[in-house]
Amino acid sequence: MNNSHKIIHWFKYASPQSFYPLAGKLIPWFWALAAVFAGIGLWITFFAAPTDAQQGEGYRIIFIHVPAAWMSMFIYMVMAAWAGLGLALNTRLSGMMAQALAPTGAIMAFLSLWTGALWGKPMWGAWWVWDARLTSALILFFLYIGFIALQAAIDDPRRADKAGAILALVGVVNVPIIYFSVKWWNTLHQGASVSLMKAPTMAATMLWGMLIMSLAFWMYSIAVALTRVRAIILEREAHTEWVKELAEVKGVTP
């Protein structure tokens, strides 16, 4: 078939066939980690963290807002890295990983917008302002949607992978450009009518809470992406022998 057997050792897991069971073994661990971190994080969020002097209880949104915002950016980088890898080395798994990550990234981007809007209303009196950060988050959301829509519109999975990879890479070049352009655009017009809290002034518990919630989001993202990539592997490799030989396909256990 291809010359994958020649390639270095760790590449073994770049084949869907060996990655599928590996992912299956890893998933429960990531779910467990996600649950533990989320438990601690939520406890800090609602019980350990004190009421904020200026924002009252409303600031507690930060404990999901910031992790979601971070993850939305981080996942995009990871997705583009997988896509680029797939384009360069022509490994089948890379494209599947990129495809599996995209919906999670889009959901994170959406959550950062949604929670941000719900935070903005009590803080600024408006659901939305054209702040640099908000605007670039919005554009990032569009980039995700574009990626997903492009892949959904192409029937041949291999073609979809490659086209998506090019789009993701073009996006990666553009995301910093977009971010800085928006930032500059915004500051030219108006002074800092919106000043976000600066991290150093943040109380230590809050910082911890945010970090732990971020870990929870991170573990969640890995777990859900792995779950999805397993489904994608099955869909794409449906006609191969190794899938037909899988225990869950033979009907022993799901």
Partner: protein, 221 residues
């Protein structure tokens, strides 16, 4: 009647099959609306002032963008010929196609517009007027657009010629639609504008399918 329903179902099926179709007309609307603040600047007061105009122009452009695909694919693959030769009167089939076009492009805009209005910091009353005006206006845009789409069918450079023909005809809709919101924001009451929109719609419902059918027959000869 069953043929109309059949054609609406067929067009909706086609739209669903090209999954992205419906969503992307919507996203075009969203993106155009979001581009303006980027071009104009983030001042809330200024943005609130121009919001009605921007929302309406964007709705108009989003509707227009899909128009060239209203008849062109059916023309290219001979379906339109079969429609002319169908025992059902052509006018009915065409009406079905226009309804399907509105369902896939106009209706989603109506539903989404309030969310975008929030980005421009509009109040609830203004948002309500926006929805009502769009509910009257978008079918109007589909009806007028269908005439343009039929006239430019199979014509060289049709796509862009279409916008040239249709945009001037969209002007009254734009003026009354955006005017309704502006009047409301200025505290004048939007009733007048809305009833004018309704009157235009009634007019178009009667004449547009007929004009479209006539134009299509010419295009097919």
């Amino acid at each position: 009647m069953s043929a109309i329903i059949a054609i609406i179902r067929r067009d909706l099926l086609l739209a669903m099959r090209r999954k992205s179709e419906v969503l992307t007309a919507l996203f075009f609307f969203i993106i155009v609306v979001s581009l303006f603040p980027l071009g104009i600047g983030p001042e809330t007061a200024l943005l609130r002032k121009i919001a009605p105009g921007i929302l309406w122009v964007a709705a108009l452009l989003a509707t227009m963008l899909g128009l060239s695909r209203l008849f062109a694919p059916d023309h290219a693959d001979g379906t339109l010929e079969q429609m002319v030769l169908s025992p059902t009167p052509l006018g009915l089939l065409i009406t079905g196609k226009i309804v399907a076009h509105w369902l896939t492009t106009g209706l989603p805009l109506v539903l989404l517009a309030p969310v975008l209005g929030i980005q421009f910091d509009l109040d609830t009353g203004a948002l309500g007027i926006l929805v009502i005006a769009l509910l009257l206006g978008t079918p109007l845009l589909s009806l007028i657009g269908a005439i343009g789409a039929a006239l430019t069918l199979g014509v060289r450079g049709g796509g862009v010629l279409l916008s040239l023909l249709v945009l001037p005809l969209y002007v009254p809709t734009l003026i009354f639609g955006a005017g309704a919101m502006e009047a409301h924001i200025a505290g004048l009451g939007a009733g007048g504008h809305l009833s004018l929109l309704a009157a235009l719609l009634a007019l178009a419902v009667f004449f547009a399918p007929w004009a479209t059918t006539a134009a299509l027959r010419i295009a097919l000869e």
